[in-house]
C-alpha cells in the first residue's frame, strides 16, 4: 500500500513539475514584426510590486535576454540591449516588470495544487517600429505553485520568467498581442 502511495505521489510530483498558469488575458490584437531585426531593451523595475528575498536586480536584463533567445529560436534576428546600450533593431521591445513574488513554500507544500503560495512574475510593455508611430502593447503574468517539497522560490520564479519570455516571444512571432484583463 505504501509503495502504491509512493508511486502515486512520485508520479503526481513529476507530472506537475514545469507547469505554470496565469491570469485571464484579452483577445489578441494584431501587429506584425516578422523577419526584421528586433532589439529587446532591458525591462525596468520601476513601480514593480516585489516580494522576493533573493537577488532580482538583473531580472530586467535576464527577461530581455530570454525573449531575444526565444525570438532567435523562432528564426528572428534579435538581441538584448542593457540599460545604457544603443538599440540597433528595426523593432524595439521595451517595458517594465510589474511583479516579482516568491510566494510561500509552506503554503505551496500544503496547497500548491490549488494555487496556494504560488510564485508569480509579470511584466508589461510594447513593441514599436522605429520608423512608425504604431505601438503594440502587451502584458503577461505567470504563476508557478508546484515543485519538490513545495518547490524552491528561486526555481519557481525562474520557471515563470522563462514562460513569460516564451509568451512574449510567441506574441511577437505571431503578431498577436495580449494583455491582462
Amino acid at each position: 500500500m505504501s509503495r502504491v502511495a509512493a508511486i502515486a505521489a512520485a508520479c503526481t510530483l513529476w507530472a506537475c513539475a514545469g507547469t505554470t498558469s496565469g491570469p485571464e488575458q484579452t483577445p489578441p490584437a494584431e501587429f506584425q514584426a516578422p523577419g526584421e531585426r528586433i532589439s529587446v531593451i532591458e525591462f525596468s523595475l520601476e513601480g514593480a510590486s516585489i516580494s522576493y528575498a533573493a537577488p532580482y536586480e538583473a531580472f530586467g536584463l535576464l527577461v530581455a535576454e530570454l525573449i531575444a533567445a526565444e525570438l532567435r529560436d523562432r528564426g528572428h534576428r534579435a538581441d538584448a540591449v542593457p540599460a545604457g546600450g544603443t538599440p540597433t533593431g528595426d523593432f524595439i521591445v521595451s517595458g517594465r516588470i510589474t511583479r516579482i513574488d516568491g510566494g510561500s513554500r509552506a503554503a505551496r507544500y500544503w496547497s500548491g495544487q490549488y494555487g496556494g503560495g504560488a510564485a508569480k512574475f509579470g511584466l508589461e510593455g510594447y513593441v514599436e517600429a522605429v520608423d512608425q508611430e504604431t505601438r503594440a502593447p502587451f502584458s503577461d503574468e505567470r504563476w508557478a505553485g508546484t515543485g519538490p517539497f513545495g518547490g524552491e522560490s528561486v526555481s519557481l520564479v525562474q520557471r515563470c520568467v522563462r514562460q513569460v519570455a516564451r509568451d512574449i516571444a510567441e506574441m511577437i512571432h505571431t503578431g498577436k498581442f495580449r494583455q491582462l484583463r
Binding site: 508511486i7 535576464l62 535576454e65 526555481s155
Partner: protein
C-alpha cells in the same frame, strides 16, 4: 517509520542505502559538461599593429575577462599592462600616439539553475526501491538548465583621437543537459564562461572586421 520502511529485509535495505548513496554522490558530485564550445561566441583577432601597443587597464577585472583580452591583444602586437593606474581618464594610459588603451568592466552577474530542485527530487525518489526507475527516467528525460546573464562595458581610446569610445553590452550564457550534474559545477563553469563570452562579444563590436577600433 524507519523500521517499517526497512523491516525484515537486510538485502533490500542495503540496496536502498546503496541507491541513495549512489544517487546522492552522482547528483551532487558528478560533473556533466557544463558549457559546450558552441555556447560561447568565437574569438576575435585584431589586425597586426605595426606601431604602438595595446595598453590594457585590468584593475578589478575578473580573470576570465582579463585572460580573453590579453589573448586578443597579444595576437595583434605589443601589449602593456600598467600596474597602477590613477583616475578615470584613459589618456593617462597613453605612452605614444599610436597606442590603443582598452579598459573593460564587468557589471551585474546573475545565475540561475534548476539543478538543486532536480537533485533533491532524485534523492527523494531513491528512498524507495520501487521509485528508483523514476529517478533514472527523470534524470534522462527532465533536462537540467543553467543560465547566467552578465553585462559590462569596454572603453577604447586610440591615443591619437580625442575621445574614448564606450561599448556597452550584455551576454547570456545558457547550457542544458541530461543526467546528473551538481549546481556548484554549473555555477563555477558559468561564472568563468559568461565574462569570457561578454569580453569576446565586446571585442567583436569594438573591432568588427579584424581591423582597427571602430
Amino acid at each position: 517509520m524507519i523500521r517499517r520502511l526497512y523491516r525484515g529485509a537486510p538485502r533490500v535495505m542495503s540496496i536502498r542505502v546503496a541507491a541513495i548513496a549512489i544517487v546522492s554522490v552522482v547528483s551532487t558530485g558528478c560533473a556533466s559538461t557544463a558549457i559546450g564550445p558552441s555556447d560561447l561566441p568565437p574569438e576575435s583577432h585584431p589586425a597586426e599593429r605595426k606601431a604602438g601597443a595595446f595598453v590594457l587597464l585590468l584593475e578589478g577585472v575578473p580573470d576570465p575577462m582579463a585572460d580573453e583580452l590579453r589573448s586578443f591583444a597579444r595576437a595583434g602586437g605589443d601589449v602593456r599592462e600598467p600596474k597602477t593606474f590613477d583616475g578615470e581618464d584613459l589618456r593617462a594610459g597613453c605612452g605614444e600616439p599610436a597606442d590603443l588603451v582598452l579598459r573593460p568592466r564587468l557589471g551585474r552577474e546573475y545565475f540561475a539553475s534548476n539543478a538543486w530542485d532536480r537533485n533533491l527530487t532524485f534523492i527523494y525518489f531513491s528512498v524507495f526501491v520501487v521509485t528508483l526507475p523514476i529517478t533514472v527516467v527523470s534524470a534522462g528525460t527532465w533536462p537540467w538548465y543553467a543560465h547566467t546573464v552578465v553585462d559590462g562595458q569596454l572603453e577604447v581610446l586610440a591615443c591619437e583621437s580625442a575621445e574614448p569610445v564606450k561599448y556597452i553590452d550584455s551576454f547570456f550564457l545558457r547550457s542544458e543537459g541530461r543526467w546528473f550534474v551538481r549546481t556548484r559545477t554549473l555555477r563555477e563553469a558559468q561564472h568563468e564562461g559568461a565574462p569570457r563570452g561578454l569580453m569576446r562579444q565586446l571585442l567583436s563590436e569594438a573591432f568588427p572586421s579584424h581591423g582597427s577600433a571602430r
